[in-house]
């Protein structure tokens, strides 16, 4: 398995270089905002070592509650372990952003279980749906009834916190054959209007399930009209794009934009093109927890990309 981009601390990667890291399952990424610029300060568990400046939030993703196959027979159990780490954090994050695939099959009991466990954090969660959250009979009604309050369309919305403008987008609806994730004209028009009166100095965090940029077209890992959204965001001085879906860390800094995909709390997926399909990657059962929280994301000051350091809990 390729490990390029790991342990590159101090080597000073160029801004446009892609850091990729295949880490299999994880907990959440703690983000902090200083001087208006969001930084990730480490995977939770490492968070105690960080020094948050008063405003932090977590990104968690791809909980897949209801998944019980070989790659992880107890996705609810690993979510509980992640939530236990959140509860143990010395400084509570302001909120959690969940970048989709809360459930595996959109069943009411799966949503109930997820709500119960996330509720134990005592922290507000801002959700966006993954494709697994809208496969109820009425195609997304169950999700919207639960999490759609105050949102538009299939569940998109924005809010402001600590001077940062947060935008939750939905790119898992009305997908076209042979294509990728899809935002659609209505959502893009809403986004344009939402940004219209925002000063270019407003830090922006945009989050959605499927990566907005194309990571691997052959597996559908990207958003067909994602560039249209990113073009609307170009004038802003600081844009952070948070996605899930691919169950591994991938990071990229391009100009004023930082792209980051989160780990799953449920099961790993293979690196692009490294397996016959993007399906759940089987690791031996006794290894699954050894890889939980394996990697740390650290900030190198300045305009350098985030550094990912490979580190086992055992070692």
């Amino acid at each position: 398995m390729a490990k390029q981009g790991l342990d590159d601390r101090g080597k000073g990667l160029g801004r446009r270089e892609v850091l990729e890291c295949m880490v299999w399952a994880g907990t959440g990424v703690l983000w902090t905002v200083s001087g208006g610029i969001p930084h990730s300060v480490g995977l939770i568990g490492e968070a105690a070592a960080a020094e948050p400046t008063g405003f932090t939030f977590l990104q968690m993703s791809d909980s897949h509650i209801g998944f019980d196959k070989a790659a992880n027979p107890d996705a609810l159990g690993t979510l509980r372990e992640a939530v236990a780490k959140v509860k143990a954090m010395p400084i509570k994050p302001s909120f959690i952003i969940h970048t989709g695939d809360i459930t595996h099959l959109s069943k009411p009991a799966e949503f109930d279980n997820a709500d119960k466990v996330f509720g134990e954090t005592g922290v507000q969660v801002h959700w966006v749906p993954g494709e697994h959250d809208i496969i109820d009979e009425e195609r997304g009604k169950a999700y919207l009834e639960r999490y759609g309050k105050g949102s538009r369309g299939a569940g998109w919305y924005s809010f402001d916190d600590h001077g940062v403008h947060f935008i939750g987008l939905v790119n898992v609806v009305d997908l076209k054959g042979g294509g990728l994730g899809n935002l659609g004209a209505e959502q893009l028009a809403w986004l344009e209007a939402d940004l219209k009166n925002k000063s270019s100095s407003t830090p922006i965090v945009v989050f959605a399930h499927i990566p907005l940029q194309v990571i691997y077209r052959e597996w559908g890992w990207g958003t067909e009209d994602g560039m249209q959204a990113l073009n609307l965001l170009k004038r802003f001085g600081s844009v952070t794009v948070l996605n899930g879906h691919i169950h591994q860390l991938a990071q990229k800094v391009e100009g004023n934009m930082t792209f980051h995909t989160a780990l799953s709390t449920a099961f790993p997926q293979p690196a692009p093109g490294s397996a016959p399909s993007p399906g759940p990657m089987l690791v031996p059962a006794d290894k699954l927890r050894t890889v939980l929280g394996l990697s740390t994301v650290t900030v190198l000051q300045g305009n350098k990309p985030l550094a990912i350091v490979d580190k086992t809990l055992a070692g």
Binding site: A70, L105, K176, L180, W219, G220, S277, V283
Partner: protein, 125 residues
């Protein structure tokens, strides 16, 4: 590779004729003969299997009045959605199936509603 091999072993352990296609795809020429056999068998039964995020056979020709059955063998749910809305399955979990009877002639392009890069075609004559 270790992971892939253990995956193959697991797949073999729950091997059934319907799974011939994915195992063949993974295991190379030795099982290649089974691939041909599996594909023919699937076609005779008008079954489209879903393995490794792929519809097999990707293109199937049937007579008017034929019922085609899709079976999902992946650990991830998929669905079967006609591009022109002639049919749409619910999400198919592992080993779930969906059947549709083609009452009229035509070409039906379909996709997986969750993973739209997965596409297939039914030609009804």
């Amino acid at each position: 590779m270790q992971n892939l091999m253990s995956h193959i072993r697991l797949t073999m352990a729950r091997f059934t004729p319907g799974r011939a296609v994915v195992v063949a795809a993974l295991s190379g020429p030795v099982v290649g003969a089974l691939l041909a056999f599996g594909a023919v068998a699937a076609q005779e039964e008008n079954v489209v299997t879903i393995d490794n995020f792929t519809f097999t056979a990707p293109e199937l020709t049937v007579a008017v009045g034929t019922t085609v059955k899709w079976v999902n063998h992946d650990d991830i749910p998929h669905s079967v959605v006609d591009k022109n809305k002639a049919f749409r399955s619910k999400a198919l979990d592992t080993d779930d199936s969906y059947s549709f009877t083609f009452a009229s002639a035509g070409t039906f392009d379909y996709l997986c509603g969750l993973h739209p890069h997965m596409v297939g075609k039914i030609i009804v004559k």
